[in-house]
Subunit: 477 residues, 2 copies
Amino acid sequence: MAVKITSRSENFSRWYIEVIKEADLAEYSPVRGCIVIKPYGYALWENIQKILDEKLKATGHKNAYFPLFIPESFLKKEKEHIEGFSPQLAVVTYGGGKQLEENLIVRPTSETIIYASFARWIKSWRDLPLLINQWANVVRWELRPRFFLRTMEFLWQEGHTAHASHKEAEKEALNILKIYRQLVEEELAIPVVAGVKSEKEKFAGALRTFTIEAMTQDKKALQMGTSHDLGQNFARVFNISFQDEKGNSRYVWQTSWGVSTRLIGGIIMVHGDDKGIVLPPKVAPIQVVIIPVWPNEIEKKRVIEKTREIKEKLETEKIRVLVDERDYVTFGEKHYEWEKKGVPIRIEIGPKELVASQVVLVRRDTGEKKATLETELISEIRRDLEAIQVDLYRRALNFQRKNTYEVFSWDEFKKMIKTKRGFLKASWCGAGECEEAIKKETKAIIRCIPLEGGKAEGNCIFCGKSSTRKVIFALSY
Amino acid sequence: MAVKITSRSENFSRWYIEVIKEADLAEYSPVRGCIVIKPYGYALWENIQKILDEKLKATGHKNAYFPLFIPESFLKKEKEHIEGFSPQLAVVTYGGGKQLEENLIVRPTSETIIYASFARWIKSWRDLPLLINQWANVVRWELRPRFFLRTMEFLWQEGHTAHASHKEAEKEALNILKIYRQLVEEELAIPVVAGVKSEKEKFAGALRTFTIEAMTQDKKALQMGTSHDLGQNFARVFNISFQDEKGNSRYVWQTSWGVSTRLIGGIIMVHGDDKGIVLPPKVAPIQVVIIPVWPNEIEKKRVIEKTREIKEKLETEKIRVLVDERDYVTFGEKHYEWEKKGVPIRIEIGPKELVASQVVLVRRDTGEKKATLETELISEIRRDLEAIQVDLYRRALNFQRKNTYEVFSWDEFKKMIKTKRGFLKASWCGAGECEEAIKKETKAIIRCIPLEGGKAEGNCIFCGKSSTRKVIFALSY
């Protein structure tokens, strides 16, 4: 039963697909590009959701729900927006047995339908800021789907806010980026680089797009979340205006932002190893799995009793625990299964341990095994869960740093992206032509202009003109 | 600012629309038949979701997520199923800029797409029972939409299970009905009649449909949730089989079940009064609203301080509380607003109360006002929240009982349904022809054959033939 998983070094893409299957996170569906998120994968998403939902509510955001369908005319109102999304749309042309007079677009994102409501909701400066969030499914046609990273339908949250001034809106966009960064770094244990997208890479319809970028183990960039300063682009076309304190009518300033089930892909690609996925304790659906071991029926009863007792103890301590009592699966198979599923801590209990009043505790990330006295079990588990969380982050941060290179010449750039990949930090003059040429020749994309260290004198890596910014180039998902 | 709401007796439908608008629960969207669930309405839904989700998880159900789109061919596999749903479908014919080879249906319910997964997931009796739940949006084309009760898109949970025997599946369907009943009666304070649907009214593709039916204040029936014994209908067409303990291949037995945002409509229609909606404390987004009253700026500071102090006290007691500190809204306007929004308890604090170390506490359901010593506030609020919850249920139960009539002749039936409406309990021979004829002549529909008291000798109210069942007829939403 121990399925051999392709190693990461052999074929990272195949490894990714195999560990998802082996961990029972998701499967492809009969609808091209759509996946089924299986219970174990969905439980992981629910844990992420819960943490982020609390953070958003704590900062004054309120959840609401807007229609799945957007009238085609709405989507067309903001020119850049429709141009950005039109190749990706799913279109409903029939409803209730009849051809529709106006086609309905299945939302690829909800700016237009939500802002039609904002125009009705906002009248006075007293209605501002308006801070709305929506948990929803969205659809973007994908020709090359990839589990969690790019699927035709995906689950996400999309925040939409309106403010009285540009300064306030920008502050909100950056605040959200900070919340995303905390979520990803502290809860998912994934280090990121925060920055601004280039004009070419920004959200269709935004003034500026902020992003957090992670590095996968195959040294590509993975965008984990974005936050957009929309300026007044949508406010003007949807006529979202308010009376200010002096009685003047003014357009609002807006932001939108989102993270999606793509975060799950990030967890897999950053922390997984050749044995399967590795889950950060804070979001793991099961933090501790207990495997009872028995040589015969008499011992079985006693061992099972003990495991149940320990399980209850852990549950009162709010530790997410599962006991694997199956008698038709061998110990070895259980061992592999929970390893593949990335459960942070495995506990083994057999008759020997019973006699010694101890258990064997195994860390998923390091494989480290230790006998632990039952009396010290809770505190030891707490320590280990924290240690795993911290160590996962530290390892990923070291990996990211080790694979970030500062490059100063175009030849060096080409050589590095081909031989090393990673994040290439290089000066860029700001011209779209250079950005385009670099992408065409190397497939490397400007992931962001980092918020920290992005301002620096130098010469554009491509054209050699003087430049004031250092940006991160990378191959990307 | 005190908008006059149409009274229930004047025009119940208009009252319903107006209280929803005034309570800021929802609004119609630019997409015909789709609503926007505004933050206050969505918070109510989240509270309902949370309670039900916990109940389902506690009984072994696991959440997962399946595609929004269903290939047309899948939906057509179960004949009764597609016949039941085909007039209501929204069809995607274009995707990614191209006409699709096979149309995609936006799920009206997910039996077919989920059971395609079940066929892959289930191999052995050890994989059973399989207990899956999904929180999702679904789309059913509606020509006559009505807030929450019938909207083109709605939010719901849909449970889907597979079992080794019919007995087990039936037990599951009834267990779920019990969970729904507890949710609706204990948390939403809405009494229901539980029963079985007639052949004509059952779910398209089910063997039997169980239902819980509430009575609205205009004396119509409102279906609050259904649970279906699917038999092996879907198992056969999707080939969901398992090896039993003896090694024989057998089809599974299945159930499916759901409740939706329609529950919100039930709360409004059962508990609302001429002043607005009335929310059961257990699911109210705000359980207590505090309105500070101040005659001048000096008093204001002291009053606000006190209200904040009380707010914190309530919050540590896990009571959901809001302080309305707005200074551009009069006391009277605030009073009306929170009344319209159905907040169970209103607290008023002014300088007079400050001096006496007391507050004025007002019950939304009865309007009862009482001065309460600050030292007794928490316990008094707890008592009142419980009393409101119980009283709402009791009042609704009395109303339901008062408006349930046993009728014995066709003339009496016609007269009662015309003059009194309500639930008419009558004998029915079981023939679809009688059911059809009764519906045609009176618009009354068999809501259910009650689980309690449904078996009784008599003569069919329409044809006079001997009958063994008493059923509930009613006009319905």
